[in-house]
């Protein structure tokens, strides 16, 4: 029973892995996965077609073309992108990343491709003119950036508190709403933002000048690093490099973006406009959320029922295994579990997992643990006399369980199952942390581009409620069928 169960689990996991890894295209040229930020204009951002553009994107694409290799861009967010390189999930990272001694411990950097310093930006309405005005105030920064390091290094001296966010968008918003008095970020980014109508103003001169580099994990993917350097040199020589920089920072570029921002604002200020404009992105986000939900529900139910059953068979060892599995996976926060599986497992085993598979495994384990707990509880809630009567007739444990106890237990469990399905649907949103482009991540990216936080989150929330309503109605229908 135990062996068979373990075998079954492995088969399921292998099947999932196979199914999804089978979708990865096989090319003659080597394809490198490049992690990047979700939004860090002018270096990385999604344009209105949800295509990733910016200095970093154009550079890496041009270099790949120049040197004849293929790339797959993964907008994971700066932090996740950096982590996924060090865990081997991705091959390289280009995300306006400053070359520092500390980072050199874990990464090998290319030759610098851009120079930038740290500046401070404030809301134009605030009276803050410099660092000395920050005493007792809050300052917003983005996790893991040079701006954050700089802010932390001077916070004692100037007496302010540092608040960290995962996305630039949240950093700027916090300053605009007045929660934070100021933010620190790279000059190129902030200047670009200011020029394109971000609604902040820069009040300090660049300090802590740093150089941006493309990075790979220390000692790994050296050929990729060489190709990057070679390609970069070529681009600088043939003028393409300057062309790219100018395209994104020149006066013409920024003013045209500003204009299109304004134009876009006018037509997409309404909910309908926003939905229309992002129809495709939202549609594929919903699809991804549904895929995650359905597959996770199926696997979590199988996993949970098996672990739950393991907990009621008359064998101390099996019960122990069940209890421990439930304890661990119900105890771990979903977010931690997702990051652990996506980043941690590859560090241990040396092989990558696609984010989608990591997401399914995460939800299977977490939702499965909850399922196991109520499956066990449901079975235990069936009067023990039922099992005894069945066994006393000579029915083996499995028959007694499947014919008598389970059918009665399932009735008890049905409401918990429905509840768990709804929770699973909601929990898929947490998988945005590992860069899966589901509904929440889609929302984040749309906001990163148009800064319409309130409206976009409203749309996303309504869509979730609709999906949950459909799922609930479907479950109730099934419940009625079971009870008849």
């Amino acid at each position: 029973m135990k062996k068979r169960f373990a075998f079954f689990c492995l088969t399921v996991i292998a099947a999932v892995a196979f199914f999804f890894s089978g979708q990865a295209p096989v090319h003659a040229e080597k394809t490198y996965t490049i992690g990047t930020d979700v939004t860090f204009p002018p270096f990385v951002y999604a344009n209105s077609n949800n295509k990733y553009v910016g200095i970093d994107m154009e550079l890496i694409r041009s270099i790949a073309k120049e040197e004849g290799f293929k790339i797959k861009i993964k907008p994971l967010g700066f932090n996740a992108a950096v982590q996924s390189v060090s865990s081997g999930q991705t091959d390289g990272v280009i995300a306006g990343m400053t070359i520092t001694d500390e980072r050199k411990q874990t990464f090998d950097f290319s030759n610098p491709y851009y120079e930038s310093g740290i500046v401070m930006a404030v809301s134009p309405k605030s009276g803050i003119k410099g660092l000395q005005d920050l005493k007792g105030k809050k300052v917003a920064v983005k996790t893991g950036t040079q701006g954050a390091t700089y802010a932390n290094s001077i916070k004692k001296k100037y007496g302010f508190k540092v608040v960290t966010f995962d996305d630039s968008d949240n950093v700027y918003n916090d300053v605009k709403t007045g929660n934070s008095a100021a933010c620190f970020d790279d000059s190129a980014v902030l200047n670009y933002g200011v020029k394109t109508g971000l609604g902040l103003k820069v009040v300090t001169k660049p300090t802590d000048i740093g150089q941006y580099g493309f990075a790979v994990k220390k000692g790994q993917n050296q050929e990729l690093l060489k190709m990057f350097n070679k390609g970069l040199a070529k681009l600088k020589k043939n003028g393409k490099y300057n062309q790219i920089i100018k395209k994104y920072t020149g006066a013409a570029a920024t003013s045209s973006t500003k204009k299109s921002n304004n134009k876009k604002d006018a037509e997409s200020n309404t909910f309908i406009g926003l939905i229309k404009q992002n129809r495709q992105a939202i549609g594929s986000g919903i699809l991804e959320t549904l895929k995650l939900t359905v597959l996770s529900i199926i696997f979590a139910t199988i996993f949970g029922v098996l672990i739950g059953l393991l907990g009621v068979i008359p064998n101390k060892f099996a019960q122990g295994v069940s209890t421990v599995i439930i304890y661990i996976f119900r105890g771990l926060p979903l977010l931690v579990l997702a990051l652990f599986i996506y980043n941690g497992i590859p560090s241990l085993t040396g092989s990558k997992i696609p984010a989608f598979v990591a997401g399914i495994i995460t939800l299977t384990l977490n939702e499965g643990a909850y399922t196991a707990a109520f499956v066990k509880g449901g079975i235990e809630a069936v009067d023990s006399g039922q099992m005894e009567a069945a066994r006393s007739l000579g029915l083996p444990f499995r028959k007694a369980m499947s014919k008598i106890v389970l059918p009665q237990g399932i009735k008890i469990m049905v409401p918990s199952f429905i509840n768990q399905f709804i929770i699973t649907l909601k929990d898929t949103s947490i998988l945005s942390i590992i860069g899966i482009l589901e509904l929440t991540q889609t929302g984040k990216i749309i906001i990163a581009r148009n800064l319409q936080g309130f409206k976009v989150w409203t749309i996303v929330a309504v869509i979730y409620l609709l999906l949950i309503t459909i799922l609930t109605l479907l479950s109730k229908w099934v419940e009625r069928r079971i009870n008849d």
């Binding site: 009067d383 006399g385 039922q386 005894e388 009567a389 069945a390 066994r391 006393s392 007739l393 000579g394 029915l395 083996p396 028959k399 014919k403 008598i404 059918p407 009665q408």
Partner: protein, 246 residues
């Protein structure tokens, strides 16, 4: 091999520190009806449950129909097919109809085809006087009806031995007679039976032997008339006085 259907030697059963059975020796001959009596907590149910290993004995030997039940190598499921059990609280399968309750084990264990089992269920329901409940769900039955279905269910496996654990004590008084009537019929047909009950009338009329247990031991046993009218042991006397006074 002797004519013994049940042969229990030096059976000990502990629940942790609670020593419930303290070395029981207990025999039942073929076709014999034995009534087990004794105060609450004396271990009657535990003894009965050890006979089909619903409880694992701590030590001692239990041989039923020549099979050593206490040996872990014995196929307990096969042994149980031959030992019917009727519970105080009936334990009918709540998710199945009356017919399915009776037919489940024979069909699942390959003893009969679906049709045969359904036929047999009907016949058994006739003997317990409940043919009209063939398609009923257990929850729609009265306690007495439930218990008669439970007896029919146990009989469907054609056991050699039937164990009854206080089959009438959860019933309203007016239901008791019907259930006892079924049990008497069984006894007359020569079924080997071990019955835990406080129905002294039944014991006097049907039992070949009465066994009095107290405090995890067999204290006294003999013909019903002997035990009831001339109890030897003080505890038996005390117990019988109480039961009769009730």
């Amino acid at each position: 091999m002797t004519d013994l259907k049940v042969d229990v030697k030096n059976l000990v059963k502990n629940f942790g520190d609670n020593h419930v059975l303290k070395g029981i020796n207990f025999e039942v001959a073929n076709n014999e009806v034995v009534v087990l009596i004794g105060p609450s907590g004396s271990g009657k149910s535990t003894l009965l449950r050890c006979l089909n290993r619903l409880e694992d004995p701590t030590s001692g030997k239990i041989v039923i129909d020549g099979k050593d039940i206490s040996d872990s190598k014995t196929n307990i499921d096969q042994a149980r097919e031959n030992i019917g059990m009727v519970f105080q609280h009936f334990n009918l399968f709540n998710n199945l109809t009356v017919e399915q309750n009776i037919a489940l084990a024979p069909t699942e264990l390959g003893k009969a085809s679906k049709e045969e089992a359904a036929d047999q269920a009907k016949k058994l329901l006739e003997t317990v006087g409940l043919v009209d409940k063939y398609d009923a769900m257990p929850r729609s039955l009265s306690g007495g009806q439930k218990q008669r279905v439970a007896i029919a269910r146990a009989l469907a496996m054609k056991p050699d031995i039937m164990l009854f654990d206080e089959p009438t004590s959860a019933l309203d008084p007016e239901m008791v007679g019907d259930v006892l009537a079924v049990m008497k019929k069984l006894a007359k047909e020569g079924m080997t039976m071990v019955v835990v009950t406080h129905e002294m009338g039944f014991a006097k009329e049907v039992a070949d032997r009465v066994v009095f247990m107290a405090d995890g031991k067999v204290v006294e046993e003999g013909k019903p008339t002997d035990v009831f009218e001339h109890p030897q042991n003080d505890r038996t006397k005390a117990f019988l006085e109480k039961v009769i006074n009730v």
